[in-house]
Symmetry: C2
Subunit: 263 residues, 2 copies
DNA sequence: CGATTCCTTGAGACAGCTCAATTTCGGTGG
DNA sequence: CCACCGAAATTGAGCTGTCTCAAGGAATCG
């Protein structure tokens, strides 16, 4: 059953009716990404106005969220799940250019159509805001725009870090970098420090990793096998990866990891 | 001989006296990047406040503007010249992650130190704003922050386009992509349309291009020689490149260039 | 003009790609 | 619960685009 929106209020017909899913989380206050998403700095008043224009939408693993060139009537925060942002060339070569994890922002205010394919990798829940009202809200209240600027600059840094990975690192270093980055991100968000054993839950197929790293899936597989053979990582079922000693993995990234957050 | 500036106007003392260079351009109204830089949307009032905290600084070709890890007391707009943003790995591998052309913004409000090396490639003039006052101004007036968000999102798009280049394109396609991007940018800014013969003034050495493209300088040289041999481009003195037919070059980028701005 | 820096070109090596064959995994229905 | 199926992953063998190492040549600048 789709979440039901406030049942009162004779539904204003222009609103696009999303046809999805059972979850009915409406309270921002209880939202798992409340303090990390684009709404992080909103005060009660701003939150209330966001709440008015927000709705949830879910996608199953593997489903497209948008194709390049699509009109996107909304922008959104990822509440849970993982999605990828990718570009495809005419002959099929594909490159992932972003990974959307919970609290990440999707879409660009002021632009109607995405230039990227966006795909749900695991089951994904989005907290969507219709674009127009969101843009109005951005103009009216400073905190959303401020936060979005900060998040965008973080993304730009991430993209630049990734450019180094793509342009200059070996296959092995690329794999280690991907896993380290995801591990770091998971450590930051939730539980666990960047030390000792770490479990990485990265629901990407070998092919998806390859598209991320600018490699072929065979090369990804070979490198992972090699790292496993050397004991740097262990493979569980369900694409689960366990890293006995995160520092050994980080040592394989090629980065100067002195300036690390190592205990 | 460098441009000489209006010699008049007793300098207002509070401005930090840049110890550089003879040029003293003070009027925003006559600024060549007035309508494209971070100040583009400022009204007269906001501009006046910017004018109070701004000062010019110049760097000669080849000089470093900042090293990774440096404290940066200012943020800045590039007024003229070209600078590169790059990252270097411990073992010397280097990757450019950004190209700063006139009107581009340098630095991140809210952060004291750069994570990147920034280098002047040609003689560069920056319009600098001391960081603290600039941050204050951003909080106080909406137009600067708005414009900066837009510019950052454009940069993010550019970075993502670059990720495709780095991850999935062949050496030849990389060269063609770099030249096309610069040509497009030059066409947008100034003179010339994206059609017919185009002159590209890209003051990058082969090595710098290689660092940009994730290649070696030898491969860059070979590919450029090949394109020249095929008549796709002509090499002048001073690193000047002339493209007889821009569409032939664009056809080599691997992009689907249907959606082009081709006449 | 020398000296330096940048560019070009060649020849051989190698990392990662391509093509191809199994094997393992995860689900599904009998 | 097991047999089966398709998708994903692994592994092998040979190929190739780019890198590495090396030697000249062309600019540019005191």
């Amino acid at each position: 059953m789709p979440f039901d929106r406030r049942p009162s209020k004779a539904v204003s017909p222009p609103a696009p009716v999303p046809k999805l899913s059972k979850n009915v989380e409406v309270e921002c206050s209880g939202c798992p990404i409340r303090h990390r998403a684009v709404c992080a700095r909103c005060d009660a008043d701003e939150l209330a106005r966001l709440e008015e224009i927000k709705y949830y939408r879910t996608y199953e693993a593997g489903q497209p969220i948008a194709w390049a060139g699509d009109e996107m009537g909304f922008v959104a925060s990822v509440v849970r799940g993982v999605a990828t942002i990718s570009q495809t060339m005419a002959d099929g070569r594909k490159q992932m250019v972003g990974l959307l994890l919970p609290s990440d922002f999707l879409g660009r205010p002021g632009r109607a159509s995405t230039p990227y394919d966006v795909t749900a990798v695991s089951d994904v829940t989005l907290c969507c805001f219709r674009r127009r009202p969101f843009e109005g809200l951005m103009a009216a209240t400073p905190h959303v725009a401020e936060r979005l600027l900060d998040m965008s600059l973080d993304e730009l840094d991430a993209a630049r870090e990734w450019m180094l990975v793509l342009g200059r690192k070996t296959a092995r270093e690329k794999i280690a970098s991907l896993l380290t980055i995801v591990a770091r991100r998971e450590a930051t968000v939730g539980l666990g420090a960047m030390t000792g054993r770490i479990n990485i839950d990265l629901p990407l197929t070998r092919e998806a990793m390859a598209d991320y790293l600018g490699l072929t899936l065979e090369t990804v597989s070979r490198q992972i096998s090699a790292l496993k053979a050397e004991g740097v990582l262990e493979l569980g079922p369900q694409r689960r990866i366990s890293v006995p000693d995160i520092r050994r993995l980080m040592a394989e990234t090629g980065d100067d990891m002195d300036g690390g957050l190592i205990a």
